[in-house]
């Protein structure tokens, strides 16, 4: 059984004050890893990354223990549309930018609600990826998710 390790670093100097932050998080007992490098469709259409019916293609498996989504293009913004039972969350990332998905102890990766006191999380059901702005040329993205398939 493998482990996954997330490392987040922030470094710089703002108004003569230094930021030097490093955080390492380990997720134990990872038995399945999905890793996809792709090109999002031109003209802001969204490509859906779901498990085809009858298969176990894991890109859209629920309850990723941890996942990293990144725009690895050099010039185009990428729209990551993360779907769950509560709706769609769109994360627009500039080149190089990334987003981290964690999992609640009780399961679930996020929630969307008009109720400010919500605490329950729901699972992701699909990931759609597209170039955000209308323009020709694809935008490159990368997705790396780790989870325990048996749990």
């Amino acid at each position: 059984m493998a482990n996954a390790t997330l490392t987040l670093k922030i470094a710089g100097t703002v108004n003569d004050k230094t930021i030097a932050y490093t955080k390492t998080q380990t997720v134990d007992n990872v038995d399945t890893v999905i890793h996809r490098v792709g090109k999002a469709t031109i003209n802001s259409s969204l490509n859906t990354h779901v498990a085809p019916a009858g298969t176990q293609t894991p890109i859209a498996e629920q309850d990723h223990d941890i996942m990293l989504l990144a725009n690895i293009d050099s010039r185009a913004d990428v729209d990551f549309a993360i779907t769950c039972s509560a709706g769609d969350l769109h994360i627009i990332l500039e080149p190089g930018a990334f987003f981290i998905i964690q999992k609640a102890d009780a399961g679930g990766n996020l929630n969307l609600s008009t109720t400010a006191t919500t605490t329950t999380m729901v699972s992701t059901t699909s990931f759609d990826v597209g170039r955000y702005h209308l323009a020709s040329g694809a935008a490159k993205f990368q997705m790396f998710g780790c989870y325990n398939y048996a749990s």
Partner: protein, 129 residues
């Protein structure tokens, strides 16, 4: 003002190890770095009010074992919630959109609560131009 580099790496220690790294630079006009306890009601971690900026990227780290939930507010009506397990960290972009939207909306404030007991959270808010 100053430039800040944010780098994220996710790696596994499988027999054939895999990893992914991404990095980007923000033009930051000001930042805060605080650590605070939160109880079982949502408490303010960071906001753009009085920051001199309309946009902030935010890191929230759970420094203890007690799980927390992070709530992101954009328009005061639609909230986005993220789990923050013990010793986990998340990075929240400056703008997102949810149901009914068609373009990113700036994150105005971020709040969090512990599921039970008390969570100790470190929060770095990077206010960008």
């Amino acid at each position: 003002m100053g430039l800040v580099t944010i780098t994220g790496t996710l790696a596994t220690d499988e027999t054939t190890a895999r990893s992914m790294t991404s990095s980007f630079i923000l033009d930051v006009i000001n930042f805060t770095d605080t650590t605070q306890p939160v109880g079982t009601t949502y408490e303010l971690l960071a906001g753009t009010t009085d920051s001199g900026s309309q946009y902030m990227w935010t890191v929230v780290e759970n420094t203890g074992a007690q799980e927390a939930v992070v709530r992101v507010n954009t328009d005061g009506t639609n909230y986005t919630f993220f789990p923050l397990p013990g010793y986990a960290v998340i990075l929240i972009p400056a703008a997102i959109w949810t149901q009914g939207g068609s373009a990113p909306v700036a994150v105005t404030d971020i709040r969090a609560r512990a599921l039970t007991g008390t969570s100790i959270l470190r929060v770095i808010a990077l206010f960008v131009a």
